[in-house]
């Protein structure tokens, strides 16, 4: 009997073209859009020499000038294209956008930039490193004056790493946040299934609910059969999205794929529980419930960094509790931590919190569904 109910509900879901589009096709379209929009932004191949000006009154040996000249991205590609000028002209060039920064040399070199960006960050890193190296050199030379002839400078000024570090770090940082958030968002999107099933089973919400309520079948039994069918369909959509991102878009999910799938499945259960809870707690008609749930999911997606990657960090630093009660963020953060951290502590912590939230939401839904008579229909 239960299996027959499950199969029939499964048929309903699979034949619902609208649901199938939003569950299966839309996430893939969105992932493709993300991929094409962000893919080329942080590749090292696209790095272009940074135009800068250098202002210095030192006539003879100027180690900073030398370091700037020798800095290379790769063989034959200089990191900087340098214009030598006075400070006034350098400032004018910066204002006019001819250069991206200028450096005033001397004992304490200063960096002047007009905007914030990757090239400006590279400049700052370069200069910070130069200061650090200069200080180190000064200390070493105080003890070993011959060190300068033994390749000390070459060893300390490995400039190409600035570009590699910036490029390598930026790519996973920004891009993966979007893809992880998309995956997490898709897991929590299961909330829509939870809501639909709650509406379908309540006599005051739908005529089908009324028909079911007068039948001799236990409501919870039917609800669980329906939820199992919804979960099956949703799991299919998650696996398809994972396959697409991993195998077609070649998004790097690291080597913990099984844990990623487990995260997605638990996230989907949490999503279904969220939908059911909204369906139970909001005592309005179905369209209002649907609108409220959509708003909750979208807000969860936004706060987890789906629309604006830095939002994840803003929440983590300013209001961490919000991160812990946002299922989208928990799933996204778990995926992120599986990629970045060698240990699984964060995975277990996030999954425990998500599990707890799911149990709480499940309990609320159960309490609501147990109600068998209604004040009005």
């Amino acid at each position: 009997m239960s299996f027959s109910l499950y199969i029939n509900r499964l048929k309903c879901h699979i034949r619902n073209k609208e649901n199938m589009f939003w569950s299966y096709l839309f996430p893939i379209v969105l992932a493709s859009c993300f991929f094409f929009a962000f893919n080329n932004l942080w590749t090292i191949d696209s790095f272009e020499t940074i135009k800068i000006a250098y202002v210095s009154e030192m006539v003879e040996t100027d180690p900073l000038k030398q370091a700037l000249n020798e800095a290379k991205v790769s063989e034959g590609v200089s990191m900087f294209s340098i214009t030598y000028s006075d400070k006034t002209k350098a400032s004018t060039l910066l204002e006019e956008g001819e250069i991206e920064a200028y450096i005033v040399g001397g004992e304490n070199p200063e960096l002047f930039v007009k905007e914030n960006g990757m090239n400006e960050t590279i400049m700052k890193s370069f200069l910070d490193n130069y200061r650090s190296v200069s200080s180190t050199i000064g200390t070493i030379l105080a003890y070993n004056p011959n060190a300068i002839n033994e390749g000390l400078m070459q060893d300390l000024m490995q400039t190409d790493t600035f570009v590699e570090e910036q490029a390598d770090m930026k790519k996973p940082d920004a891009m993966l946040v979007y893809f992880y958030a998309l995956l997490a968002f898709n897991c929590i999107f299961a909330a829509n299934w939870g809501l639909v099933e709650v509406i379908n089973i309540q006599a005051d919400q739908s005529t089908r609910g009324a028909r079911v309520s007068v039948s001799p079948i236990h409501k919870m039994k039917l609800f669980l059969c329906n939820i199992a069918a919804a979960f099956t369909v949703h799991t299919g959509s998650i696996l398809l999205l994972l396959f697409y991102m991993n195998n077609i878009l070649k998004i790097n999910f690291g080597d913990q794929f099984v844990l990623i799938i487990i995260t997605c499945l638990i996230g989907s259960i949490a999503g279904i529980a969220l939908g059911a809870t909204v369906g139970i707690l909001v005592r309005k008609k179905a369209s209002v419930k649907d609108a409220i749930l959509s708003a909750v999911i979208m807000a969860g997606g936004f706060l987890s960094g789906m629309m604006y990657a830095d939002m994840k960090y803003i929440i983590a630093t300013k209001l961490p509790i919000l991160g812990f009660i946002n299922p989208v963020n928990l799933v996204a953060d778990t995926l992120y931590s599986l990629y970045y951290y060698d240990t699984n502590e964060r995975f277990y912590l996030n999954m425990a919190i998500l599990g707890l939230l799911t149990v709480l939401m499940g309990a609320v839904s159960y309490a609501g569904l147990r109600r068998k008579t209604y004040a009005s229909i």
Binding site: M1, S4, L5, N8, K11, C12, H13, R15, N16, A203, S206, T207, R208, A210, R211, V212, S213, V214, S215, P216, I217, H218, L222, K372, T373, Y374, A375, S376, I377
Partner: protein
């Protein structure tokens, strides 16, 4: 007793939807619950089915107190609502089979009952159709099939013919009679008095949450003073003549509009003869003459002072 409702009160804040409602439905009856929209028919049904909480009163079904957990009682009840309650994504066959499987565990039995239900509502040619492809009438028949597929002893139909074409309506009414002949007790709510008159063996007229009259259709009609309604196509009848007709023996009311003389008389013989004799005497020319027995609308009108269709 199949259904016994005593002193049922249901309030929505200040609005009293059911006002100490009493009903008794005996085995084998087609019990009509007749009343205008908003009179409390659907509320009464929802209370009987334990879908709605009520403030006072008792409800017994199959001589046992009805409650939301009375699964044994629910097994023998079928519900057909005004709004179609089927799954758009399942075919006609799958829908009927699905709702049957809520009641019956055995697969073979589900299959047999599903096929019987399809045959009963004459949807054999539409088994593989999805509900969206069905006309309004066919959709209602599917709705009925989903409600009766498990062969319930008590079938509750809540305005099943609203917005249904005459052909499908007749089919539905015939089907209800057949179900009754096969042993099911029927509770049929409607605001269409013709339907109720046509099929119900017992009728309760309900208004403002109260049963205002109850009995067979003949018993109900005998409760009112009007025995006959005579309509005569008559020309140039003056006020004096109208007054005289009104004062003839056994005449309750006379109305004259657009050459139609409408006269309500009490029970008795020769009412028409007396009127026609007077008209001949007064040389009033007349054409068609129609006589009708009182309808349930007349019953409702006399008791409440308003038309059933208001």
């Amino acid at each position: 007793m199949i259904v016994k409702v005593e002193g049922l009160v249901k309030r929505y804040d200040k609005l009293v939807a059911l006002d100490y409602l009493d009903l008794e439905v005996k085995e084998g009856e087609i019990f009509g619950l007749l009343g205008p929209n908003g009179s409390g028919k659907t509320t009464a049904i929802n209370c009987i089915l334990s879908l709605l909480k009520y403030d006072k009163g008792t409800i017994e079904v199959f001589d046992k107190p009805m409650g939301p957990d009375e699964y044994k009682l629910k097994k023998d009840i079928g519900l057909i609502m005004q709004n179609v309650a089927v799954f758009d994504e399942l075919t006609v066959y799958e829908n009927i089979s699905y709702f049957c499987s809520l009641y019956i565990k055995d697969k073979k039995e589900v299959k047999r009952l599903t096929e019987e239900a399809i045959e009963f509502v004459s949807l054999d040619d539409y088994k593989k159709f999805y509900p969206k492809k069905l006309s309004g009438g066919l959709l209602r028949r599917l709705n009925i099939a989903c409600g009766i597929v498990h062969k319930p002893k008590l079938i509750i139909l809540d305005e099943p013919t609203v917005a249904v074409d005459p052909q499908s309506r007749n089919k539905i009414l015939e089907g209800i009679k057949k179900l009754n002949e096969d042993g099911a007790t029927i509770i049929y709510t409607s605001h269409y008095m013709e339907e109720v008159e046509q099929i119900c063996s017992k009728i309760a007229i309900i208004d403002k949450g109260k049963v205002i009259a109850q009995g067979t259709k003949d018993e109900l009609k005998s409760m009112i003073s009007v025995g006959e309604k005579i309509t005569i196509e008559a020309y140039q009848v003056n006020d004096l003549q109208l007054n005289t007709i009104k004062n003839l023996p056994n005449i309750y009311s006379v109305e004259y509009r657009e050459n139609q003389l409408e006269i309500k008389t009490g029970r008795g013989n020769n009412n028409l003869v007396t009127i026609l004799e007077y008209m001949a005497e007064q040389k009033i020319s007349f054409g068609r003459v129609i006589t009708e027995l009182p309808t349930l609308n007349d019953v409702f009108l006399e008791i409440t002072g308003k038309e059933l269709r208001d």
